[in-house]
């Protein structure tokens, strides 16, 4: 609750800061301050200290994993703002408003980490998504930005419609908007009662709409276009924090519901995972624009994260935290560099290593992490996903397919490393690369490596 209220309030503060000051640096500083505070009071909440204690009457339910995820999301946002704050300022003229929207998104994220019913899920998703429609279109003169925004909006609304129909059907069958699931045991026989068909239909529709939010195939079509069209700085945010939150909600939602779908769950999810992995990885191979490649790769990563959904065990919960964190770190890192480049194509990275070795090193670590090479956080993230799936059993063949495609993913991630290290060229930047930026990015790289060596560091938080 702390985080929800505070982020909403700080969003308002940011909204008005634009009136008080025109100095963008101050605005960025203010938002960093807000994020630090937000992180702090979110952690306070984890220790049981409430800033405002409200009885949510069951609408929200805070548990340690949700708070922990929230902390990760806030921390990632903090890093994101520190790394890319300059670029947020330089996009359009509405820096204060953008920050306000970011905080509103965080409110949505916070709700999604704690929702305890379909209503709050719905609201959380909407609160999270509507600012994103706006941020996608933030570069108003850019036709691509416009287009991405409209596409995102149309398809997003459509999926909202699907989701609502799903909710309605579930409500019809169960009379509740709860997420506890409608399965019950018949008192006489002790056998599971087959859930109402309406509920199943509703679950499928809900599943579809959540797949859309996390860009799982075949509902991923918005992702490449929107990620590509949106200003890079907001793509970074969308592809990391927002997407992870979507996953978190997805898993939380279906935690107790898998039984409703029965056997078909064991077909539907593998089916979706398979298609997602295939489309994400294979399509990314051909991309020449790094930004668009990253968009496809984020689909591929989603495929991996879906294993957690399938696994639906303790490993998948820990794993999704680890995945969210390492994936967010790495993607934010790469985007932070990408945004600064003039040329988003692969050639834009040519020769980066000779001019900025530290920068190139950090970027390389991020890429290695995304590829899942050991010693980086990405490895353990993927490891957990595979473990979760293997532990759950039944889809070992899919795990094999996944690792085959992971080898494909190495192909496109390493092309960037090749460009940086093995090709000569002079990268040109939109803005000067400061020492501070380089060292922050290096810090991110170090964090990724630490996570790759001692994932316990992160997971221990979860356990105490």
């Amino acid at each position: 609750m702390n985080a929800i209220i505070f982020s909403a309030l700080w969003g308002v503060v940011m909204m008005f800061s634009g009136i008080v000051t025109q100095n963008k640096k101050t605005i960025t500083g203010l938002s960093v301050l807000g994020l630090v505070l937000l992180l702090f009071i979110n952690c306070l909440h984890a220790y049981g200290i409430w800033v405002i204690k409200l009885d949510t009457l069951g609408a929200l339910h805070f548990d340690s994993i949700g708070l922990f995820f929230n902390a990760i999301a806030i921390f990632a946002t903090l890093l994101y703002v520190v790394l890319s704050g300059k670029d947020i300022e330089n996009t359009g003229v509405h820096a204060a408003e953008y920050y306000a929207l970011l905080f509103f998104v965080l409110t949505g994220v916070s709700i999604l980490t704690a929702f305890n019913g379909l209503l709050m899920l719905f609201l959380g998703i909407e609160i999270m998504t509507i600012p994103l429609y706006i941020l996608t279109g933030a570069d108003k003169r850019n036709l691509k930005s416009n287009e991405a925004s409209l596409k995102y909006f149309l398809m997003g609304s459509f999926s909202t419609g699907i989701m609502l129909m799903g909710i309605a059907l579930i409500y019809g069958a169960t009379g509740k908007f709860g997420i506890a699931g409608g399965i019950s045991l018949a008192p006489s026989t002790g056998l599971a009662v087959r859930p109402s068909f309406l509920e199943v239909g509703g679950m499928i529709l809900l599943f579809v709409s959540m797949c859309f939010k996390v860009s799982a195939a075949p509902f991923h079509f918005w992702t490449p276009d929107v990620y590509d069209g949106a200003p890079a700085v907001f793509t970074s945010f969308m592809a990391t924090i927002v997407k992870s939150a979507g996953f978190f909600a997805f898993i939380k939602l279906f935690d107790a519901h898998t039984a409703v779908l029965g056997d078909s769950w064991n077909i539907l999810v593998p089916f979706v995972i398979l298609i997602t992995l295939l489309i994400g990885n294979i399509t990314a191979v051909f991309q020449q624009s790094v930004k668009r490649m990253l968009a496809y790769s984020s689909i591929a990563q989603a495929g991996f994260m879906l294993f957690a959904l399938y696994g639906n065990n303790d490993l998948s919960k820990e794993g999704i935290l680890l995945y969210a964190f390492s994936y967010s770190l790495a993607t934010i890192g790469i985007f932070a560099v990408l945004i600064k480049l003039k040329d988003y194509s692969l050639d834009g990275f040519n020769g980066l290593a000779t001019e900025y070795p530290l920068l190139a090193f950090s970027t390389a670590i991020c890429l290695l992490s995304l590829a899942g090479i050991p010693l980086t956080g990405g490895f353990f993230a993927k490891y957990y996903m595979l473990s979760a799936a293997i532990k759950a059993g039944g889809i070992f063949w899919l795990v094999i397919v996944a690792v085959l495609l992971a080898a494909v993913s190495v192909y496109y991630y390493f092309r960037v490393i090749q460009a940086m290290y093995f090709k000569s060229g002079a990268p040109s930047f939109n803005q000067p690369i400061t020492k501070a930026f380089q060292f922050t990015l290096f810090g991110v790289a170090v964090m990724i490596i630490l996570l790759g060596l001692f994932p316990n560091l992160l997971l221990n938080f979860f356990y105490f």
Partner: protein, 170 residues
Amino acid sequence: MSIIQILFYLLSGLAVFAALMVLLSKNPVHSVLWLIVVFFAISGHYILLNAQFLAIVNLIVYAGAIMVLFLFVIMLMNLNAATEPNQHIWMKLAGVIAGGCFLVMLVSLASQAGDMANKTVLMKEGNIGLIKELGKILFNEFVIPFELTSVLFLSAMVGAVVLGKKDNTQ
């Protein structure tokens, strides 16, 4: 057949017809108008179901505010003529088939739902749809979501400003 049933069929038929007209009208303005008809029909349904609050809100918010907004925009863009080029015929066909399949699937699903077979809807009666009852629920159980919707509106507001305002500096 009772009067309620007659009204149900009437309103339903009207709504479906109007909805189809929304699709089929070449002129966007006509589409808007047909959509308003749909909303009125649905409001009629609400009244049949004794959901008075929603019936009024539906009229005010949807038919009143939202649709007017749509009309404004259409007028603003001068789209009142049938300027829209036709979607490709195959695309149309595919859309219809896809929608039809979707409908068939959901309907077969619903018709197979055994637990719904004997359930009936309480028409006319039942007072949960009254403002008084809903108000109690809204401000007790649903006060937190209610407050949180303000964030939604704030962001919508900011969005409208960000997107709508002319950037002078650029």
